[in-house]
Symmetry: C2
Subunit: 505 residues, 2 copies
């Protein structure tokens, strides 16, 4: 059995853990346990599962110090950032508790028997039910909020789906500790072992995706990882959905009115957004379109000063460091010039220099308009705002598109730019920065390929829909129906005979 | 240019039409028109699109006689059936009109700026917006309701997505006439040409799926067709969703209490359900589990008598006839014996004999538990209801699962059986038959692979969700927001700060 090792990115030191890669027979056992746990989650019911999610949140918080210590040593992310992230992870479980208590997420609908233009219509009742066990591939860059204790796990468990999580090789010990914190909460509720499972190793990931018990796959990762998982899905006799959140360039458009009005402030915001967490966020802005006028020049000067004065950033692992450095070099070869890059001591770990590149609008190629994971921003200088539409329409779709406008900007220009961004993004940010994804009901964290391959969000209340399927009951006797579909049940909002009826308060 | 021909399945006669297969340059033009029509559909707004759908329904009805005549000559379906189907097609457009007027389908949600455990949360507003042009592949067996004027077209247009429909080769003239009826309604509203388009020929279908303007594909057809379309999607740089409704066996379980209670009635219902429309329905029951006891024997006798006394059924085309006859032969070779099959005059067209096969439960193989499109039913005789669970768990997932129970049946058995069916079906029918899919709010017409490849319905109000994606606005100025997301808009139900607020009445 292969021992799983872990690396501290701050000093590059590798050491063995007590964990071993999951072999085929162990994987079979875990997947079977997940399959069998489906019934327990279903029997818990909506409110029981809400309680379970709250208990998981509390358990994560009660293990806060140990979890953060594990993650610091495996990711190089700061204590403050990891502390926030753990809060975020707990918040996600609690939000889904609220979603379950609200209950509208099941989309309960009742059509009573009625005469229709096609003759007598039967009694029909429909609601969303769990898909079944979900395979989750954790992300490298969020050891809590997009990993074992992440939003995919929270959403799947909320839906009533057991999860089997493929741990990211960059933080096995954090994954293991998170899994234990979750499992202990479930055990205290009398839950079986299979409600959540964790597997380690590439091969286990492939076998997991192909396992007949799995009903969906969720991934936060690279386009390459998504293609590999899709290839494994294609080997199944039955295709299952892949919900993948992948790469994103997140263009920011600064209109002349905005840079004239508050160039310093935007420089500060941009700097914080592209360098925070070592630029290792899927919502990191990769391209900023800034006017060539004096206001724009002042903004870029201010940004350049900040970058030049910054220190090195520890990134998550060797692969990310190398990809970052190769990416930056490729951008430079393609014509972007270095505007600011401090000299940093690379040390023994994976430290990189934040980099500000510049290019004039006509020099922006598809190669430069690509994601470079890490603290790199390309400023694109433009002379005429009228040239932006066509260029933005060629930048690959992103999770987000941001626009800064000011008193001097024409409303028609703003609207045109928003339309162009909206056609290629999942979220339009006004006068702000794409990083910092609020965990809430109205959030949408998704976009067109390659930012995601789905029409769903991976963050926020509605991400639960990914793990549900509709089921209809026709002329069912009352006693066999789920309580949400019985006449007179008023605890949740339902659509009855075409009319939306709110929950009784 | 290849001329499109049409065949009358009643006499097998083939004749040329005035239509030609769509070549690449024409396809490009149609796809470009569709892309450009997106803005017009968007500008129409929800209520404008509702009016458009009503106008299309009225136009279809005003062309009723000509449409039915065209379809009779191309499908061999009866006038009465086609008349009903046209009513159904019009009803679908009107239902989506109601969905748009109701407006809750956009899932509008507003989270006002607020303090959160992670600091200040921005103002976030989310709703569903159109995906963009949709490629629709019409079905052979519903020349109206699942073809050019079908539910996929209605749902996509409702969503705000232009459609390009690949006409089924079995009814090109019906497709053309339907397209004209729809287009004339849109023209009267001042709509551009690209709101709906129709293409003819296999090659056009492939090119359509690969066209960059297409944002989703909807298909009602065979597993083979779905795999071919998926292969074309895989050639795209950007994957797009395929919503496919494919094959379905639709098992029916008759419990001993039901056959003892009302065997004759069930025989009548089963007969009508598997022979109606020549058995060419995706919800046709293919397997009926009937007890070996005297009540079951009486039911099967009554069913056998009806089938033996029946006449031939004209099926849609030569391919379906051949597949039906080959399928029946394969079932017989696999051990099912002919219980009843009348001698019919095959004539010059595509006439087949309805067929009742029988097999004992232990003899039921995967080969027999497969779909055979056409008027064929396999009765599976069982001794002990306790043996059914395990067998049902091996039958491929279906659109529907039906259960007949009577006063003598144990409630625990009924529940167990429903649980088994629910795990592998999209709709559970109690004491009825799966054919006759009500067009309404609570309908679900979908299931696990191979009945569909999605977690969505292809019939009913919620099928619109397939053609929508979420979009979020962060800290947007009021004037740039869609009206559905502005403060104080009360015409639709919305989720505001986590609370569902019903529409003002």
């Amino acid at each position: 059995m292969n021992v799983v090792s872990t690396v501290d990115p701050r000093d590059g030191r590798q050491r063995d853990t007590d964990l071993t890669e999951t072999d085929e027979s162990r994987l079979e056992a875990i997947a079977d346990q997940a399959y069998r746990a489906t019934q327990w989650l279903s029997d818990l019911g909506r409110l029981g599962r809400a309680g379970m999610l709250d208990a998981i949140a509390a358990s994560l918080e009660s293990h806060r110090a140990a979890l953060i210590a594990a993650a610091e040593a495996e990711t190089g992310l700061t204590h403050a950032r990891l502390d926030q992230e753990l809060t975020r992870a707990a918040l996600q479980f609690r939000l889904f508790g609220d979603v379950l208590r609200d209950g509208a997420y099941v989309e309960a609908a009742i059509d009573h028997a009625a005469e229709t233009p096609l003759g007598p219509g039967p009694d029909l009742r429909r609601m969303l039910v769990p898909l079944g066990p979900v395979a989750v591939f954790g992300a490298s860059n969020f050891p809590f909020a997009f990993s074992v204790a992440g939003g995919d796990t929270a959403a799947a468990l909320a839906a009533g789906c057991p999860t089997v999580l493929k741990a990211h090789p960059s933080h096995p010990l954090t994954s293991h500790a998170s899994a234990e914190a979750i499992a202990s909460a479930i055990r205290e509720l009398g839950g079986p072992d299979g409600v959540t499972g964790t597997v380690y190793g590439e091969q286990a990931g492939r076998l997991l995706v192909r396992h007949p018990a799995m009903r969906a796959v969720a991934l936060t990762g690279s386009v390459g990882a998504a293609r590999a998982i899709q290839a494994a899905i294609d080997e199944r006799p039955d295709p299952i959905p892949l919900y993948a959140e992948l790469s994103s360039v997140n263009p920011i458009v600064v209109l002349p009115g905005a840079s004239a009005d508050r160039g310093d402030q935007i420089a500060e915001g941009l700097y914080a957004s592209f360098t925070g967490s070592g630029g290792q966020l899927c919502t990191k802005p990769g391209l900023a379109f800034v006017p060539s006028d004096p206001g724009g020049a002042h903004l870029v000067d201010a940004l350049r000063d900040r970058v030049a004065a910054s220190g090195g950033a520890v990134v998550l692992n060797e692969r990310i460091r190398d990809a970052y450095e190769n990416g930056a070099r490729a951008f430079e070869r393609a014509g972007a010039h270095v505007s600011a890059r401090p000299t940093v001591d690379p040390g023994a770990g994976f430290t990189v220099a934040p980099t500000l590149l510049e290019v004039d609008l006509p020099g922006l190629t598809a190669e430069i308009a690509d994601e470079c994971f890490g603290p790199l921003l390309v400023v694109v200088r433009y002379d005429d705002v009228a040239d932006l539409d066509a260029v933005l329409a060629t930048v690959a779709p992103s999770l987000t598109g941001s626009i800064h406008h000011g008193p001097g900007d024409d409303a028609a220009v703003v609207r045109r730019m928003v339309d162009v961004l909206a056609a290629r993004s999942g979220r339009i940010v006004f006068d702000g920065y794409p990083t910092g994804v609020r965990v809430s009901w109205a959030q949408h964290h998704g976009g067109l390929w390659p930012s995601t391959n789905s029409v769903h969000t991976s963050v926020g209340a509605t991400s639960i829909r990914r793990f549900l399927r509709p089921l209809a009951w026709q002329n069912a006797p009352e006693w066999i129906l789920p309580e949400e579909l019985r006449d007179g049940y008023t605890a949740i909002a339902r659509r009855v005979d075409g009319r939306l009826e709110p929950a009784a308060t």
